[in-house]
Symmetry: C2
Subunit: 215 residues, 2 copies
């Protein structure tokens, strides 16, 4: 039995569509009436675990799911021992540094030393500021990071930006980009080594969908 | 201007009611159409920040809010330098250890050494298992912790239990209690020391509501 960890939220619909094309139909998960967190595939050969974004790499790292779909942002933040198998292309957004428009800062290197930076992604932010040799004090927030500069708890934030609407609504502007994030297919390394071909077939089908989408 | 950090979710309605009785009316925050994360009080002397549970002690510790309301569970997990001023009594729930009913374990000390325990509250869980001298491997999950024993990622979980319905629905039973959690009024220590009487008046009014509720 194959177990697949899928993230609730923005990536779910496309994740289900890609697995359906690869032969594992979990579309029951998209039914608004669905309350189950473990959903069997139509074929009965697999089940999907519906978990929070940040928990996908945990379930895959511990081998409770052999495959999973999760954003590169979460993978970068959690650094769990999972195999990053495929860039699935959807769920695109930028991990960016943003400040108040009125601050005048044009780039992350303009920020004052030891200023405070708020983020849900403090590991990503720490690596970025270390790379540009700018010592900052990180403030870990779990939501509504755009409040950071408005309340004064931080001069800058590191957050995911898709359309930029939230930033604009809060008078913030993007001044630097850490990386571009998309949904990734990840796998449990040991399960991949012990695979009898079933996992490989799913991965290859998804890979070929990727290739045909790029033509 | 007084700033108060309020947690979104289950504690919000009672938090707003208690501040209204103490003279700061933030009831606009409860309007389902409200999209603002910073809401002024009717009197104009204060504003409320509407943030995630876990961010309340952060805003208060940094002094961006002088007062805040948050569950004792979050305070215990985050251990931020805030003053725990009052037990407000509402939002009661137990931080508990739970296992599969079929496991047969009757108490936390029955769990096997080095078993895996899943929790959103890994700091609370670590202290509890250290106190009972039981070495365990903690697995940090961010949601749906009740899936832990069902998927096999953990034998036990440490999670908040209010009615126990989620546990029952997932075939889990509570075998130990870490502590009982209720909403707390917290304050920024330096703001309390520099207070000209305004904060003290709010705290005393809330204290007297507490006392009259207990008669």
């Amino acid at each position: 039995m194959i177990t697949v960890a899928l993230a609730k939220g923005a990536l779910l619909k496309d994740s289900v569509a890609r697995f359906t094309k690869a032969g594992l139909d979990f579309s029951a998960i998209l039914d608004p009436k669905n309350r189950l967190l473990m959903v069997p595939s139509v074929c009965g050969r697999a089940k999907a675990l519906l978990v929070r974004n940040g928990d996908v790499p945990v379930y895959v790292a511990y081998g409770q799911a052999q495959l999973g779909v999760v954003g590169f942002d979460v993978l970068s933040e959690k650094k769990m021992p999972v195999a990053n198998l495929l860039d699935l292309g959807f769920g695109g957004c930028r991990m960016a540094v943003a400040v108040k428009e009125s601050s005048g800062y044009k780039s992350a290197v303009d920020l004052p030393h030891h200023c405070r930076v708020a983020s849900k992604f403090t590991n990503c932010a720490r690596r970025f500021f270390e790379d540009i040799d700018l010592p900052v004090e990180l403030v870990h927030l779990t939501g509504s990071v755009e409040l950071g500069p408005l309340t004064g708890i931080a001069e800058a934030i590191v957050d995911l930006v898709a359309t930029g609407q939230t930033l604009r609504e809060n008078g913030l502007v993007e001044i630097d980009e850490l990386f571009y994030s998309t949904a990734r297919l990840v796998g449990h390394p040991l399960s991949l080594r012990l695979d009898n071909g079933m996992l490989q077939k799913i991965i290859e089908t998804m890979q070929s969908q990727n290739n045909s989408a790029h033509i």
